[in-house]
Amino acid sequence: MTRILLSDKLDNCVERWRSAGMTVIGPVQGESISRYAVVENGAGFDFGMILPDRSVKELFFPQTEPMLRYTIKKSEIDTADFPPPQEKRIIFGARACDASGLAIDDSLFGWDYKDDFWFHRRNESVIVTIACTKADDFCMCTSLDLAPDSTKGCDVLLRPLENNRGWQVEEITDRGREAFAVIADLLQESSDQAAPTAVVTEKFNLDACVTWLQNPENFDSKFWKEISMRCIGCASCTYLCPTCHCFDIQDEGDTYSGIRRKNWDSCSFALFTMHTSGHNPRSTQSARWRQRIMHKFNYFPGKFSVNSCSGCGRCSRQCPVDMGITETLQEISKLQS
């Protein structure tokens, strides 16, 4: 017997959470794209998709975020902070890859200097993951030692029932338990079986890839040029990525008042690393693509002991020229073996 939550109780759950002061967020299929968005009742959710087009990252690290407002006066400068949103949130129906992405980036945003814009939201959010029962050709979590039902980064794991009438509930963290205490009486004991999780075939040999990437000789390999030749240098892969975290700081305003903002930025852009002198350490697209791969699978794990990739496959799914991490790592696997 396990505790289950029935789908038809979802309306009640949303209502309970909302009246407990939480904003309820879930996968929503919009007219043109799907994303994690605020839902007002059970009907707002769409659990049918493989995963939303946009990752959950944007709820913690928005594409543009005001950091402070400045006002310049005659002999002083006033600044006012824009604190991150204060309300508690529950993200119901996150995918395991998205949730792991958040856990991965925690190490970066908390490295020495703690980024409050990220952590405030992290601390105020409960992540309820729903294990995947289907996957597409681009899913690759299993190649990264993760799984459709990973609990990394999530507070509560739900497993869809085989009979499709709800989910098995597995509370992972205290924060999750606390959020589900609000709806405890809506849960019930049941012997319903969980549906099998999606079969995600292993796309590449990660260990082989890492070995290849760590070999300094391969840094200058002509492989990089070949694999990235068709890269057009846009940022759609990095912006949709649940773990890509690079940003720019920009002022908007004039000499008297304005706002300093934190905006997404991407290592795919030529200007990303360009020095004032005109010298650019990564002046070619191949150097930039190499940086992206190296950073995710060599440098980042070297620092934080975790790959900066959770295998959602959005980079390959959305690439205008059908590139992506999967293809590159598949090719590297071949080179290494």
């Binding site: 005001p66 824009f82 991150p84």
Partner: protein, 150 residues
């Protein structure tokens, strides 16, 4: 809102050889015209990039006026012909994205047309006053300055 009538902010990009001289003439002739227009003087209408118009809107203008020499009178022989095509294209682009062409006006005013300048400023000001503040755009500006919500 108070009972006071709405005073639009209008930015005028004008060429120095014709319209600016025309504005000068209006001034020296002591013609009275609406004080709502701020003039930015440029060498030629050919120098007036649509970027200027976007910038004016971004900074909260309710209307924009672009003005230069009559066709054939350009100091640089054909700067205004180039400008004319650009305006046509830009105007229809703005229209397609939902910005009323009434907010961005174009005119030819020569150095001798001081009274046309004064009349134009009055009529443009009146037109834009009738349209009211550019609320939609101002809302976008305001949204851009407000804190993140999620």
């Amino acid at each position: 809102m108070s009972e006071q009538q709405f005073e639009p902010n209008i930015i005028a990009f004008v060429c120095t050889y014709c319209t600016y001289a025309g504005a000068d003439l209006a001034g020296t002739s002591r013609l009275k015209y609406a004080p709502n227009v701020r003039i930015v003087r440029l060498p030629c209408t050919g120098r007036i990039s649509p970027m200027f118009i976007l910038k004016a809107l971004q900074k909260g203008a309710d209307g924009v006026l672009v003005s230069g020499c009559h066709p054939g009178d350009c100091h640089f022989t054909h700067g205004n012909y180039h400008a004319r095509r650009r305006w046509m294209v830009f105007r229809s682009l703005l229209e397609f994205t939902g910005i009323s062409p009434e907010r961005v006006k174009y005119s030819w005013i020569s150095a001798a047309e001081g009274s046309k300048f004064a009349d134009l400023i009055n009529s443009v000001t009146e037109d834009i006053r009738k349209l009211g503040p550019f609320d939609q755009y101002q809302q976008m500006i305001k949204d851009a300055q407000s804190p993140a919500t999620l």
